[in-house]
């Protein structure tokens, strides 16, 4: 059931790309990849208070030989643009957004960020992916656990928004190599982009909304691109307002 606009971009080399590759393969299946457990956000305040955890966004340059090289400039631009775009978006849907300071996270906050990416990958492979857990019976009941409520109390927030994203951009050398390889009949990865976002209820730890960042949805390194990604990514996010 390959949709024509879906593009899988091959298998990048290197073990650190493993998860990204799995993710890219999952995305390429192009089934609807989001889950919404609640229709409206609840709060004791006027607006639901959402805490944006530092977006775990990384950009890499995929060098000619397939070695990913972390890129500071792109990563920083993407993190800043994304955070700004989410802030604007939150205002437009009537949510009170708070930003967690990346340089001043507590140990628990760092741990939950790691836990979110672990749970996110589990959702990808065991809910959307080819390895459903029989005992779940198709239910979506993933949770980071109620221990996270302490973070909600610390920040006076009702929900936490977590984002995980990895982007591997092919260098000129990599593309040239891929063209040569294609001429010789071999497929070579020319990069990939993939990620997911979750909204966590900070009273229970439950994942109340989950969405996959689809490949080709936008360019985070540019302001307009980031805004487009955010619009697509959060299209179905529950809000406290009536559906637009």
């Amino acid at each position: 059931m390959q949709h024509p606009i879906c593009k899988a971009r091959g298998n990048p080399a290197g073990s650190r790309l493993f998860f990204t590759t799995v993710l890219a393969m999952l995305i390429s299946a192009c089934a609807p990849m989001n889950v919404k457990q609640v229709d409206r956000l609840t709060t004791v305040e006027e607006h639901p208070r959402i805490l944006l955890m530092p977006p775990d966004i990384r950009y890499y340059l995929l060098t000619a030989g397939g070695v990913p090289e972390p890129n500071a400039e792109w990563t920083e631009a993407a993190q800043t643009n994304f955070t700004e775009a989410v802030t604007d978006y939150a205002a437009s849907i009537g949510s009170d957004l708070k930003l967690a300071d990346k340089t001043n996270l507590s140990q628990a906050e760092i741990d939950y960020e790691e836990l979110h990416s672990a749970v996110g990958f589990t959702i990808l492979s065991n809910y959307f992916g080819s390895a459903p857990l029989p005992s779940k019976n198709g239910q979506f009941d993933w949770s980071l656990g109620p221990g996270i409520s302490a973070i909600g109390e610390d920040h006076d927030a009702d929900y936490a928004l977590y984002v995980y994203y990895r982007d591997y951009q092919a260098s000129g050398g990599r593309i040239a190599f891929a063209v040569l390889a294609a001429a010789a009949g071999a497929a070579t990865s020319v990069g990939s982009e993939s990620g997911f976002a979750s909204l966590i209820d900070l009273r229970t730890g439950d994942v109340v909304w989950f969405n996959v960042v689809s490949s080709g949805s936008g360019e985070l390194r540019k302001k307009e691109g980031a805004a487009a990604v955010v619009r697509t990514l959060f299209k179905d996010i529950p809000t406290n307002t009536a559906v637009e």
Partner: protein, 394 residues
Amino acid sequence: MNFRAFVYFAAAALAGMSAPAYSEDIHDVDHKIPPGYKPEESRDEKGLWMEIEEYELALNKSALLVRDPEINNYLQSVVCRVAGDYCSDVRVYLVRNPGFNASMTATGMMQVWTGLLVRASSTDELAAVIGHEIAHYTRLHTLERLRKLKSMAARGSIFDLGVAILTGYSTPIGQASAMLNVLAFNREQESEADFLGARLVAEAGYDPHAAYRVWEKIIAEEKAAIDKRPEPGIFSKTHPDAGVRAAELKAWVSDKWGPPDQEETADEALVTVMNNHYLFLMEDMIDTNRFGRTEELLKRHAAMGVNPSLVRYFYGEMFRQRGADGDTELAMAAYRHSIEGGAAPPEAYKNLGYLYLKTDNPASAQESFRDYLARNPDASDRAMIEFYLEEGPQ
């Protein structure tokens, strides 16, 4: 020869052909960066620093970090003395892990595992490992490894593509050869850091002979081990063999600085730190259940002059957990010795109590349990111990 063996053979041959000869005398290399170094305007270096700085933020909050000021001051003072002008460029973190390791990053973030502290017989040996790590930093080893990896992987891919075009067969020979080349480069960096590290240590007034003694002790520990470390295969040999490192360093150090002093002298600074923190340092080692290695370290600590009462307690723990024939008696004797020495932790009384129960001596067990609760009134297992006390001697 099967296909896999053929690829290995071809890759090794290719790697051998393109392996560079040492460009300068590996014994005599100098720092590549000045004190106060910040990354250049190069893309890969800035990317590398960004990743490491994010990691460091997380490490700062890690539950595994040892935060005790005394032990950190001791470590920091050794680092600064060895690093000299680079002192303010190096940030050292002591991490709870019973393995033998220390590591350095491109940004000067250094990690020392507690397993290194329990293996050092002297501050000189600790300084030798720290000198090796600082040499990695001042020689830009992490960055150069990334650059080597990039260029070798590109060459390897192109080689494989060429073979595929010419023969129609797709093989990973070029990529495998690139890996071997990167590993050889890695081992060369290790040797470089060994020699420059020894020089830094000597210039700081530490004993350069400690540089190879560290490796001799690792070999001794390996001999004492019941489960040996497996030999790495050719695709995972990131470091030179310990025996080779020890021999090369010994020859070079003795040639440059003369033969070692006859006896290693007692090291008050290290022994004081060990005495004050021995319980948590050795607790992690005991938990590895590696009895041969643990016993070797305990022997070493006793010889160094670590408080025998503390060392005896861990002999007790080691025998009790090993549980071989006769170990119960050995453990009980060790706990009793520890208690006589006056520095036994409350757990020595408790565990002795359990062994009394096991050997049908409930009266002595009761006494030990009472001693335990008297010394540790807030014990988390108080209810359990009181249960034994209420049961009384049968």
